[in-house]
Amino acid sequence: MTAVRWDEKVMKDVYIEALLALAEEDSRIVVLNADLMNSDGTVKFAEAFPHRAVNVGVQEANMVGMAAGLAAVGKIPLAHTFACFHARRALDQAYMSGAYAGLPIKLVGTDPGITAAYNGGTHMPLEDVGVFRGIPDMLVVEVVDTVSMQSLLPQVVRSPQPAYLRISRKETETVYERGQDLNLGKGVVLRPGSDVTIAAAGLMTAESLRAADILAGRGISARVVHFHTVKPLDRELLADCARTTGAVVTAENHNINNGLGSAVAEVLGEECPVPLHRIGVQDRFGEVGSVEYLQKTFGMTAADVAAAAQTLYENL
């Protein structure tokens, strides 16, 4: 059985704790925000480091452009807004002023995918991973729980590369043991298995572990691998999984186009073609509703993952 459980702490609180600890050590860290400080908790950072925090107001493009300038003078800027606005409203600034110019800006995008829930389709980023994956040098990381955030945040911050960090600000399900260390760019086998691989990210990681339980009940041994780093993707681990299990299901909180599923398909195609099924939003726009409603509507439950894995396995 899986050890998935709801975290007693809300992600944004733990995120700010971690960020404050980093900022104590590294005076280069500067936090930018575009009128969402009370939403994502960075207001606490502003209280602790008033001179290293700026709320620019509702102006994401200016914020990301400013981040590039801060990076140019040696700061480590972390620019915060909802993931949808990073991907859609400030993309040119991230691309040209940031990545193209070789400046390690750090973009922190909250409310990934269907966790935007009641803010509805306009606020539901289902393209952000794809958008940032298309920018050279850009790291694309999605933390799944507070443990993975605590381990990966320092690595993202200290990396000489520009980075996009996709993060929930709400309650999360924990899939790691407290204090577990993860390595940027390295996938993690959360559950061993030999019949089929489930490659998961974000919110769908816990669903995938539950799917593995369902599959176990049907006599199918599913390996669950967490890819917190979508770019660069852990090609070696993925190819090994494909070779040893013979089929791959991807599970992501994103459009199945251009996100983890696409990244996996690219690697499989080049390294080890095996049957593949992509679970996620099937090229639709987001809509308003609870996370549970959206998971059902978009076919993103553990049952959906299990059914896809079973079909692949039975047709091998």
Binding site: D35, L36, M37, G57, R88, G120, T122, G289
Partner: protein, 281 residues
């Protein structure tokens, strides 16, 4: 109509919008209450006399267009539309529920009476300018009314639009800024002040007025003047209070998106009814 009759009629309509909005959000338990409350009187004036529309035929080609660029105030707009009969009042209970026609942010593909989809601040302004331009190109008489937030005006896109719109002299357009002095993280003055706000718009070539946004007659007169000001695009800065008329939100610093119980909201509705004289204290 006598001015007093008109005031009474518009205030009654505004009160209905306010109460329906509070009730809908109250039963949901959360929502953008502050920014909904501050535009209630404006909605009442627009839908209570100024705008041409047919509830039974939302796509009527000669209708006026309302663009709620601060799209998070959707629930207040839905309440106005429901009171006017675009859809049943009952439907307000579905706001934000899975499968609803009334999502948190205004959506032209779902809601009868909504012509432009909004939610990402700044964008409704440009879409509205485009709609006004399109009507002008076609020589049509439709008018476009756009509602902006003051925090929203921090977006660069607003000032791109202001530059273009000021030069374009759109006679069929009136832009409103809900100048409630607050945004999500607090007071506009503390985050990125807009003053001198009126002078900014003036310098971009706009016909500018600034009036009490909770005084229905003042708003109505300003709209009349704006529409009369031919050869200029018009903007009206509405001095408003975020959360106005909702005792659990008005006067609070953090009143953008709030959580509340149904009982708390029922109390706030009761407080409003006393305040506007609908029930005895």
């Amino acid at each position: 109509m006598q001015a007093t009759d008109k005031r009474e009629q518009l205030e009654r309509f505004a009160s209905a919008i306010r109460i329906e909005t509070m009730a809908a959000l109250g039963q949901l338990g959360f929502g953008h209450i502050g920014g909904c409350m501050s535009i209630v009187e404006l909605l009442a004036v627009l839908y209570g006399g100024v705008m041409r529309y047919r509830p039974e035929d939302p796509g009527w080609p000669d209708r006026d267009w309302l663009v709620l660029s601060k799209g998070h105030a959707g629930p207040a707009l839905y309440a106005a539309l429901a009171v006017k009969g675009f859809f049943p009042l009952e439907e307000l209970k579905t706001i934000n529920q899975g499968g609803t026609r009334l999502p948190s942010h205004a959506d032209r593909q779902r809601t009868p009476g909504v012509d432009i989809s909004t939610g990402s601040l700044g964008q409704g302004f440009s879409s509205g300018l485009g709609a006004a331009l399109g009507h002008r190109i076609d020589g049509r008489s439709n008018r476009v009314f756009i509602i902006l937030g003051d925090g929203e005006c921090q977006e660069g896109q607003i000032w791109e639009g202001a530059l273009w719109g000021g030069n374009a002299a759109l006679d069929n357009l009136v832009v409103f800024v809900d100048y409630n002095r607050q945004q999500l993280d607090g007071y506009v003055m503390d985050i990125s002040p807009m003053e001198p706000f009126a002078r900014k718009w003036e310098s971009f070539g706009w016909h500018v007025q600034q009036v009490d946004g909770h005084d229905v007659i003042a708003v109505d007169r300003a709209i009349e003047e704006a529409l009369d000001a031919s050869g200029r695009s018009s903007v009206i800065l509405l001095d408003t209070k975020k959360g106005y008329g909702c005792s659990l939100a008005e006067g609070k610093t953090m009143n953008h998106h709030m959580r509340f119980s149904k009982e708390e909201m029922d109390q706030a509705i009761h407080d409003w009814k006393i305040r506007c004289g609908e029930v005895a204290p």
